[in-house]
Assembly symmetry: D2
Homo-oligomer: 350 residues x 4
Amino acid sequence: MKTFVMKSIGRVGFAEKPVPKPGPFDAIVKTTNALICTSDSHTVHGAIGPRENLTLGHEAVGVVHEVGAEVRGFRPGDRVVVGAITPDWGDPASQAGHSSQSGQALGGWKFANIKDGVFAEYFHVNDADANLAHIPATVADEAAVYCADMLSTGLMAAENAAIPMGGTVAIFALGPVGLMATAGAKLCGAGLIIGIDNVPRRLELARKYGADVTIDFSRQDPVAEVVQLAEGVGVDSAIEALGGDITFQNAVKVTKPGGTISNAGYHGGGEFVHIPRLDWGVGMAEKTIRTGLCPGGRLRMERLLRLVERGRVDPTLLTTHRFRFDEMAEAFEMMDEKRDGIIKPLILFG
Amino acid sequence: MKTFVMKSIGRVGFAEKPVPKPGPFDAIVKTTNALICTSDSHTVHGAIGPRENLTLGHEAVGVVHEVGAEVRGFRPGDRVVVGAITPDWGDPASQAGHSSQSGQALGGWKFANIKDGVFAEYFHVNDADANLAHIPATVADEAAVYCADMLSTGLMAAENAAIPMGGTVAIFALGPVGLMATAGAKLCGAGLIIGIDNVPRRLELARKYGADVTIDFSRQDPVAEVVQLAEGVGVDSAIEALGGDITFQNAVKVTKPGGTISNAGYHGGGEFVHIPRLDWGVGMAEKTIRTGLCPGGRLRMERLLRLVERGRVDPTLLTTHRFRFDEMAEAFEMMDEKRDGIIKPLILFG
Amino acid sequence: MKTFVMKSIGRVGFAEKPVPKPGPFDAIVKTTNALICTSDSHTVHGAIGPRENLTLGHEAVGVVHEVGAEVRGFRPGDRVVVGAITPDWGDPASQAGHSSQSGQALGGWKFANIKDGVFAEYFHVNDADANLAHIPATVADEAAVYCADMLSTGLMAAENAAIPMGGTVAIFALGPVGLMATAGAKLCGAGLIIGIDNVPRRLELARKYGADVTIDFSRQDPVAEVVQLAEGVGVDSAIEALGGDITFQNAVKVTKPGGTISNAGYHGGGEFVHIPRLDWGVGMAEKTIRTGLCPGGRLRMERLLRLVERGRVDPTLLTTHRFRFDEMAEAFEMMDEKRDGIIKPLILFG
Amino acid sequence: MKTFVMKSIGRVGFAEKPVPKPGPFDAIVKTTNALICTSDSHTVHGAIGPRENLTLGHEAVGVVHEVGAEVRGFRPGDRVVVGAITPDWGDPASQAGHSSQSGQALGGWKFANIKDGVFAEYFHVNDADANLAHIPATVADEAAVYCADMLSTGLMAAENAAIPMGGTVAIFALGPVGLMATAGAKLCGAGLIIGIDNVPRRLELARKYGADVTIDFSRQDPVAEVVQLAEGVGVDSAIEALGGDITFQNAVKVTKPGGTISNAGYHGGGEFVHIPRLDWGVGMAEKTIRTGLCPGGRLRMERLLRLVERGRVDPTLLTTHRFRFDEMAEAFEMMDEKRDGIIKPLILFG
């Protein structure tokens, strides 16, 4: 079968591999739609170390092709989505409620990390009954594929932010995760949602997804502006959706005493992430800092699909470009260079 | 000043009383809008025991008329809303996070219970800085007055229900509290909202407020229907918004193991409320039963006003009738008898 | 191998069965110590319906005899404990944090319910890596075996009670679960622990496990006494450890507004469990009712073993009688009739 | 009356001031016992900016001397303790459950910060009904005075650490707060408590207060040692009780994915506190960072007193030195220089 791989650090391309076989609890899925994630680019550039001929991609939907003997809930032909994170549910971390950390830190992240990813005609899913979910007939593949990562991560960012009903929230960076965090803040009952970025298209999308106010940080000081909008005392909750040291510091600064900073961004560089000491109340202002990694699993996927099915959120506004799988190299390059205002490129399989 | 009082059990009417004076931390508010609550009827019929010439009403907005010497945040002329519950914030119950129970069980409920209520040209507010909130210029009195009780109680019902993001919820009884609980369930990120009643106007309003499905219990078995809609296993969360023993039992029945039953209704009769033993998993199915009483206080009111200001919910759809204060007797009688499909009657002061 | 079975409702006895074989993720354990539970008696008397030649028992420790090909963390010869509840960790209920409810209500309870139990020379454990735990060298089998159910259930009762640091708690019924709940309340930082029963030996043990005050309900009104001890307002938390309607009602009565009732008892009879309406604050006093079923799993067992290893609690004070496996019939009869002040009989295997 | 004041930055001494008078809700307390806190030294050295003739001290017990007209729960002659933090309970931050942040960040901290402290023959307490607590007859002044700050802060550190029942915890720095955090970890049900310091007397006290293992960081690498003790994966919870950047970093390093870092230390210097990026799981390992400031209020004090009364913790082991009030200058100097292995000096008033 045809796959799109990281050949080595900095090099990508197509490669032919055999169709995988399932273990007794696993499934093989025939891919129909996939999305490229910025973290695919990071991986190729070496963020997680060297890899050789590793199939890329972790966001996909498809049709079940084959299941192991012990799989009970899925059959060949079923339309399914799989979370980007496919935990080992029996692991102690999962038993403690942290399934994305099963096995080790970030250990639930397997696709295109410790095993082949989903940019392939077929891909392998561990523990199919626990990690796959059926796509309702009324939900299109293009919408369902956003559940795998963007919706799960973005909504998690809002859930971790502990936004009180009617509370105030600021979201730093409005890429796809920040935009879904914006939608998530609205779904969490926020009373004032402030989005911060400097790309007009993103600011506009943020308003569509629920931002009441947007701040272009290239024109205004976002910290001063957020605090002023939040009655001078700061917001209840701040979301960091970039993985930047400055956005993280700003998130701490704009949060009121007793509030929560929810970090969703992957911090890719530097020895330290910096907490501004005085704004953190010298370690006594009850500002909680939480982090998370894209929740996976059947239950999570079913709940996200329900939100899409019932029209609570339309993630497909994020799709700015469409490619056939055989145009993957071009799509990847465009995403890599963030050309043409790209937000999410959708990949259509044969 | 003119007031509308409970003269004795079963008897209401107008009475003349002096305008109240504030203590050092208190305020006197000149009423502009008020709402009649079903519990006003209950009170008149003796639900909380005998009262003599007690001014009725606990839902009102107005303009600050006078403040005590120690009040810092409010001045005569300010447009304000006051929660139906006006807690003593220093009480141990408030320190424990249960301000509606300050002093004793339900002790935060003072208006038309242990002191005169708001159906008067002027009313008294204890601890003004903690219990009043400014109404934003863009929010009309008619909308703001719903924050006092209906929005606070209805949204509390949904918050207490611990609805997971994308989860399923069933709401038993769609009076004004149930309808605001429906809006609340949507604001909490529910993925499937099921409303149950038998009055067409209420079922229709429930769909406007966010119910995905409504069930007319006079035509269908609500328990079987809800369980079937919730994939055969039951809903994550059920809300009881009536105070009925049967609706409470049904709420327990439709909730899945591990789910939450949120009781918002006032249970007015009988020695016991009944938990169906087997549906409760013989006391081991991890079905949590929570209750609450309309949260009050400045912070709560400000947050609710923010939701109204930003268009997250429009409570004024509940207003079915309007009366002048001098038509209070007629309004009260209509509410008492639930005539003419009445949901909430708005009372306009001179 | 030799097993002790329920032959039919009301009849027990020994039976010969083949040593079980493990599936790829399972283990077979050679039993060394077991405990009889009151629920074994209930089962024999028909509480969960008819069963034929079902091996009884769910509390045991032993030595690993054989493991499936996919088991990574355990090898033949390892000393292990297994929780009474052995969940399916990938099930949606487990993903939601309610593993004891996996599959269906109480579905994690498999031993002596939907498969053979542990009163046998060998027993089978599903998902060994997730459901077994190694016993530290310094912990005796007799102590470790209490982790399976008594410690897990009793401490859960205290954890579910949401006891504030320094808070007050009342525990209704001081059988083995109530006694471990007493120890649990102390481990949760309770400032005043009140134990209620009428058996002197139990009251004495409760004081050893941390009860500051004990009440003999045959001599004093427990409700009045608890409320008075709790400064007239009631306790923060009440634990029901019997499964009785009256103890449940009393638990609701003695709990202050805003407090928590934790039900650990199995309610074996009646159509309803009764909530006293007025003491429940007519459904508005913020008294939360929680329930649970003995948490299982490797992580839980490891944590409980740590408490035993470090001397935080000594469960072996519960052992009142000791029997060899071939004396099982006698032990069972004694437990069934609660003769000779029996609390827990320890069964020693060859 | 005689008071001990900060005359200006770096200068302390006695000063004569008039006995304060209470407002309607306030009380005046005649001091019997007080404790010097390291933060008193910090204040004198300029940590919170210049002050002129400010009475120092925030840890004291005494006898009520006079109460305002509206005080209901206290009378002259009552033995009382007052929390170091005396919140404004009606403030929005208090309504949100963050009373120590009332008014502004750390705004509940009034004694020796924004008003005169307790190193005086008499001191003033705002909102006496909400901020004072009666001392039980069986609790000595010397024990009760620890509730004001050391017990409240130390136990908070453990409560914020979200230690699971039977979980593992590491405590960095074993001054009085760290030692009370050690006692707190035991009260929270920790199964393994590891204390880290380099002063033998403190390590020994830590073992008395519940540490199972102590690490002398001058002899061993505390990070490697803690991780190894915690089965190679790290502890569930880490407590920072110093306010040091290195101890904070170490706390993040030793915490497992999904665990909690509880910061109780006052971070006195530097622009930033540093999160080690990789050990923080690049912002995705679900390691939560919480902070807090000594909870105050009547309810908190009553609960802490209960723990002392029932023998759950004996804080008086911290008292290493005793002085009369007229020896205050000497006591302060000794504390300032941490001479003679001083932990807490008790000050006895006439």
